[in-house]
Amino acid sequence: MSQARDTQASERAAMEIRLHGRGGQGGVTCAKLLAAVYARLGKAVQTFGDYAGERSGAPIRAYTRVSDSPISNRNKLYQPDHLVVLDPTLLGPEVVSGLAEGGTLLLNTPLSPEAMAAQFGRFRLATVDATAIARKHGIGTRSVVIVNTTLAGAFARALDLPLEVLEAAYRELGFESNVPAAREAYSALRVREAPAGGGRLPRPAVLPGLPAVLPLSEHKEGPPTGLKTGSWRTQAPFYLRNPAPCSVRCPAGNDVVGFVQALARSGEAAAAEVLGRTTPLSAVCGRVCPAPCMEGCNRRELDGAVNVRGLERWIAERVPVAVRAAPAHPSPRRIAIVGGGPAGLSAAYVLATAGHRPIIFEAERELGGVLRTGIPTYRLSRAALDGEIDSILRLGVEVRSGQKVDRARIPELARAHDALLIATGLQRLRRVDGPGEALSGVEQGIHFLRRINLGEKARLSGAVVVLGGGNTAMDCARSALRAGAAKVTVVYRRTRAEMPAIAEEIDQAVEEGVELVFLRQPLGFAGAGKLEAVELAEVELGPPDASGRRRPVTTDRKTSLGCDLALLALGQSADASLLPAGWKLEAGRAHADGRPLNVFAAGDFSTGEGTVAHAIGDGRRAAQRALAALGLEAEVWAPPDAPKAVRPQDVRMGHFEGRPPAHEPTAPAAERVHNFEEVGRGLRDGAEARRCFSCGDCTSCDTCLVYCPEGIIRRKGTAYEVDLAFCKGCGICVAECPRKAMEMRAS
């Protein structure tokens, strides 16, 4: 009947540690970590927290007892041997009460032990900036830094506990990832020994007096607001705008989340105003952009990306975007732009709206460049294109069409104008470089598309083979079908997953009857006087190349594909020979003999990126560079850092209801394959904008206000006001913000 723990209540050789922190800082877990370390050293341990219902931010205590014999003392700790203070704002006489003179006082503070000595010099002082270390190592919740595991590392150093035992305890409790921070705190700890002669104060035998308590039948004076919980705070919530992934990824530099939210909140006029800040070609991009914004859309993780492309078209069809007329500049400059494609048009738009005089030199009869000659009308109606070009020209843009500018004329144009922009796009076309390429029936796809798009007669029959996997290949294939080809086959050297073409374009091509053949590399062309077949080699996929895609490896196995027309869509590049001899491009600006010229490259000619959106963005940059070079202080736009954008894990998906994306209706495949009318019919309404999470941009959704446990966030118009007298700094508002439009900052 006698049992060890019931026969002798021994408290011999006991050591007691008391921790002071705030709810949410992890004081209880810190005490547990210390207990786990001593348990590993073979000691009996006991650890517990001491708190009420205030939760986050409220002062709490936690205790750890360590003993060589079983522990049966279940009282709180009134006479600790060591004290750990997680939050320096708690420091005061009450916190150190009962600590033996010479006992260790471990403080989380950037201050040195010497700086604390005036007040607490009778104790052994140890300090470490655990908050800075924990923040550096990213330890904490969605909103607040948590210092407990870091500080435990410092404690180990202060009490000379072996680091490897500490690390083992971290592993056991699942804090392995916090070990580096603990290790850093271990070595960063600074200690000031207590003066000699200190000793434990005598244990007070007298119990403290008890306060009087009013009977429940009497009114208790003082509402709960008497407790100014703001004094508990070390961090406070701030509202801010974080970059959204859609905007960060837009090659044109559009404020994507801005225009979508403007549409959702204020309508299409407000949305068009946002778009017009960066692009004059929304009707175009709303149809043909590959939409990297949608690839980056955080809503993909919930139920599908917001149909941003569809929304941009929807806005542009209702409100002309490019109408930002500006007063003439006091000394307007004449700036020549070679090439009237998207980059040239974008540059002209920037210059015209800044009050200058852009002059576009265009080889074709009409402006638009590849938008007119390359992109088929079933993807981009000429009414939409012409409308936007007209809007740009109405801002005061001169046009010299039908004038092909060659290398010889470039220096002359540069001399005759304040600056010159070259935006000629990708004029050099890749070839197969195999036998039979000169046969009748072998044609560059770009040339084929130009014939079709400019209305030249191009009636086809028989079988057509398109070589390539990009948007030009898709355009060739689908145009060939519409022009009467009996059969169209696209041959690509990799697989569907690697095709650079927009996924919807591929889907629509397949719906229309285009056949896709993968893993074939063209070698040459066969035929007697006229093309009869394309010679192909079979391809296998090898290890990934620099682009991360698996490199195609050509085998000796050969096949032949019979056809009447072969269209080459193998890629394009800039024609650098347009630059006069001795000229060199550096960061988009031409230099001669190492001296900068007021000649700038714009769009694909400069970057080779090959999308309308890139061309718009770089056209703007080139125009801004030119203005900056002329001393006109234009701000040059730079693509923002993608890593800073709001990530899916930053979005509180649970605050959003699932609703699948809205898709544009399209003409039935069987019908549309017989004509060149636009396939996409545009979204039915703008409701899709309401699916936008508004990543990083406050929508005044009141979630912070609703979740604040203190009820001290108030609406002020569309913004919020936090009553700092009561804000505990718990971080719940920040953790619950659905869109990361808030963050905690030291206060």
Binding site: D6, Q46, F48, A52
Partner: protein, 387 residues
Amino acid sequence: MSRELVSANHAAAMAAVLAARANRSGRGFGSGVYPITPQTECIELLCEEEIEKGQVVRVESEHSAMAVCIGFSLGGARTFTASSSNGLAYMAENVFNAAFYRLPVVMMAVNRTLGPPWNIWVDHGDTLMLRDAGWVQLYCEDNQEVADTILAAYRLGEDPRILLPVMVCQDAFILSHTMMLTDFPEQPEVDAFLPPLELPHRLTDRPRVVGGLDFPRETEVHRIQHANAMALVPEVYREVQATFRSRFGRALADPVVPYRVEDAEMLLVSMGTTASTVRTVVDRARERGIRAGALRLRMFRPFPEEALRGYLAGRARVGVLDRNLCPGLGGIVWAELRGVAPPGCLVQGYVLGMGGGDIRPEHVERVLQDLTSRQRAGEPSFVEVGS
């Protein structure tokens, strides 16, 4: 065996899971749970565990939590739930039902002060409110005892001579949230200690009515049977202690745990963790030459009358420390203990530590001082503890 640094809440859950898995070769395990401070961690851990042939149902109230346990138990499954304070009050109707159906449900109850005004800390008023519900009630003093008592409760309650639910009680925060090193047996050891439950009256595929109308004669007999089963508990508990020791290699505490009683003139009687502090004071008193001893009342239902009579025989003074109050009567343990004290023994009641005040040795010293200086017993005495 494994040794873990865990709170008594987790210790209870871990022991319940061991017991649950031990019934996998029988009719499995079922549980209905509803959270309440300071019990929540216990059922959170239970919900995280994967238990073969086991199901934990998260319900909307304590009343339903016990109803789910009753259903599972009637179906022959081993069951477990946990609650506290006002949760127990809301559960009360079904607490009685479980006992009157004679179902060996095991419930871990964290002793928390009943509100309002609200208080989340320990006193024993909540489970003592259910002292007439027909359950076995065991009160624990440390984390190890919580784990061990949960395992023992199944062995005891499921014994075919008993078939009663068992409430395993522990002090809020002082145990529930305090982490200490606790030993847990391996599953095969528990399997051997807890054979599959065979509930004789479990429901089968032959439909029948359970708990319909009892006429006076039937109720009278059922109550007498209930009383007889309770009367057998001390004897069966002794058997459980023996099996426990042989299986797990450590002792399971007695229904009444004595401390330095051999030559004691006076005894201090308490329940739960108060007993730890009492022992410290007994040691100090002995140093001063006072022949003091202590009893810890571990089993409150059935009331261990025989054991208590044995310990109280020949003592001049007994002080009872109640961490509860029955207004209009006094401390409940004191009230019940008076009836088993020998003639001439001074039995004085002290009420202290209600609402979770930290009962320190200094408070118990006051009790001892009062007890030694007293000429005769009086009204229950309140010792105010504060925070």
